[in-house]
């Protein structure tokens, strides 16, 4: 009887898919009593394109062109994961130089994604000045990408066997100038955003993640590090050149929105530091940027299975891939961090918080719908 009574007193609203406070095209079904959320349920599927089916129909090289579309804000992680899985199955070793360039691309993409997150998080508290600034700063990174790969958003650059193009002339110099610029800008963002009194008031103590369920439930990325766990795929199981680079894993203990924001701020700093190291390392690296790979129809994968993962801007992203001896991939499964964050975590965090916190919490989890439903 008690439950019936509470149900009758609530309002049911759909936060999304058409809503300014939602991250991408998804929706959260909320039951509200006043402004407090009683129940929350995530709905996805608005972006389902059936990538896993499309990849099965294509040859390896054809599939390569569509995998980067799986996650829009940070497409390069998909290319790297796909390439790593194919290389693992086909037994291709990439050269040191290709690995260094890949590392650089991934770190640039990470900064871009974190800048985009900063815009979303700031606009969720109504600080409209921050997205205006930081999305323009992210555009400078996209400009470098355009020079390197020819594409602004989708690069299709990291290919199984290496990377597709040599660095243009003067690229590293521009990159180091960009690092200087971004470092200077970060001080401004500290003042206007991270140390802003209104943001602190809104973010501290909101969306606290239970530390006991972090590891078993597989939360990753900033959620993990915001709860005081010092884990990062780049350190735990180093891939590419990360074991040669020097960087710290930022950790905060509070587990709330503000802790995750500070972790991200520090991650941008660390990524800038990584890029600076790479600018020095890349000229000394050797090897062909592209290994010899079989031709289109002859690129066959053996009957084997593999699982690769890396650290994206939101958490650990993994690919499962199975070959069957033909030139087509038998099965590819994408496991993004958002799948767990948007369901197991978000639904728990929202219950008991207020409607005003929904956009804050969603942004701080970094939920990216296209990688949930592929």
């Amino acid at each position: 009887m008690q439950t019936n009574k509470t149900i009758n007193e609530t309002i049911k609203i759909f936060h999304g898919p058409q809503h300014p406070g939602i991250t991408g095209n998804m929706s959260v079904e909320l039951d509200l009593a006043g402004e407090t959320i009683q129940r929350a349920k995530t709905h996805v599927g608005y972006l389902h394109r059936g990538f896993e089916k499309l990849v099965e129909r294509r040859t390896v090289i054809q599939a390569f062109t569509i995998v980067c579309r799986i996650c829009v804000p940070e497409p390069d992680i998909n290319e790297q994961n796909f390439a790593a899985a194919v290389e693992d199955l086909a037994g291709i070793e990439i050269s040191e130089r290709a690995a260094a360039i890949r590392t650089m691309v991934l770190e640039m993409a990470r900064i871009g994604a974190l800048m985009l997150w900063m815009g979303g998080q700031a606009s969720s508290v109504g600080l409209d000045i921050v997205p205006q600034w930081c999305i323009a700063d992210r555009d400078l990174i996209l400009d470098l990408f355009e020079e390197l790969t020819g594409g602004r958003v989708y690069h299709m650059y990291i290919f199984p066997g290496g990377v597709r193009r040599e660095l243009p002339e003067g690229f590293l110099e521009k990159l180091s100038n960009l690092c200087d610029h971004l470092e200077k800008r970060m001080e401004r963002y500290d003042k206007i955003f991270f140390e802003n009194a209104t943001f602190q008031k809104r973010a501290i103590g909101v969306g606290i993640v239970d530390k006991n369920e972090v590891i078993p439930n597989g939360y990753s990325g900033q959620v993990l590090r915001g709860c005081g766990f010092k884990h990062d795929v780049r350190k735990d199981t180093p891939y590419l050149l990360y074991d040669r680079l020097d960087f710290e894993i930022p950790v905060r203990n509070e587990g709330d929105v503000y802790a995750r924001a500070l972790v991200r701020r520090e991650e941008i700093r660390q990524s800038i530091g990584l890029l600076r190291q790479l600018v020095l390392i890349i000229p000394d690296t050797t090897g062909e940027i592209m290994q010899k790979i079989p031709k289109h129809r002859k690129f066959k994968l053996p009957k084997k299975e593999t699982w690769v993962k890396l650290e994206s801007g939101r958490g650990e992203m993994g690919y499962y891939m199975a070959g069957d001896g033909s030139e087509k991939i038998r099965r590819m499964q994408v496991r993004g961090p958002s799948l767990i964050h948007a369901y197991a975590l978000l639904e728990r965090l929202l219950v008991g918080s207020e409607l005003a916190d929904v956009a804050m919490i969603m942004n701080s989890l970094g939920i990216c719908p296209p990688e949930i439903e592929r």
């Binding site: 058409q18 608005y46 972006l47 394109r49 059936g50 089916k53 999305i135 323009a136 992210r138 602004r152």
Partner: protein, 204 residues
Amino acid sequence: MKEGFLIEQERLEHEAAASLKSSGLINDIIRYFRKKSIFVLAYGTGCGAIEMPPTFTSRYDAERFGIRGAATPRQADVIVVSGYLSFKTLRRIIHTYEQMASPKYVIALGSCTINGGMYWDSYNTIKQLDKYIPVDMYANGCMPRPEALLEAFIALQKKIENDEEPSGWERYLENIEWYRQNQRAVLGEDIKPAYEADWYTEGR
């Protein structure tokens, strides 16, 4: 009391709306205002939505042309369909489009809206957007750059000012049967999005 979208639907199906077709000074002035002020619905339907923030922020700054975001469909003039549409989103897009107040315009972004694009053999995306809702302007590419998006907006402004052909919402009213038939062909009989009322029965 009927809900808003039901009234809108009835009006779409039974009654032809008055159009401001005849030219004259007053209509010129109205068209000038329409051209100068375009509210874009904040609905990122696909990957093209990633290029919307740059378009509306300080690098490309669409607001200098009078283009700004609007939160609800009631207030918006333009809906930007940014890329591929899955069935589930198409249902919401139709719903949203019918909630908007006329005159309203549709800008379709990316090659996926023209002929399926990358996802030509995908089982869950539609291939030609203009079979389901009328499109006023296409911006092609995968994905279109912010410049292309701005150009589409400016071309739309020109179209509004010159009042060329019947614009999309007029075509939608005239050919509502044809559009409905196409929509039903892919979505089934319930075009309105159906939400399963989950936890009331589940006992979670």
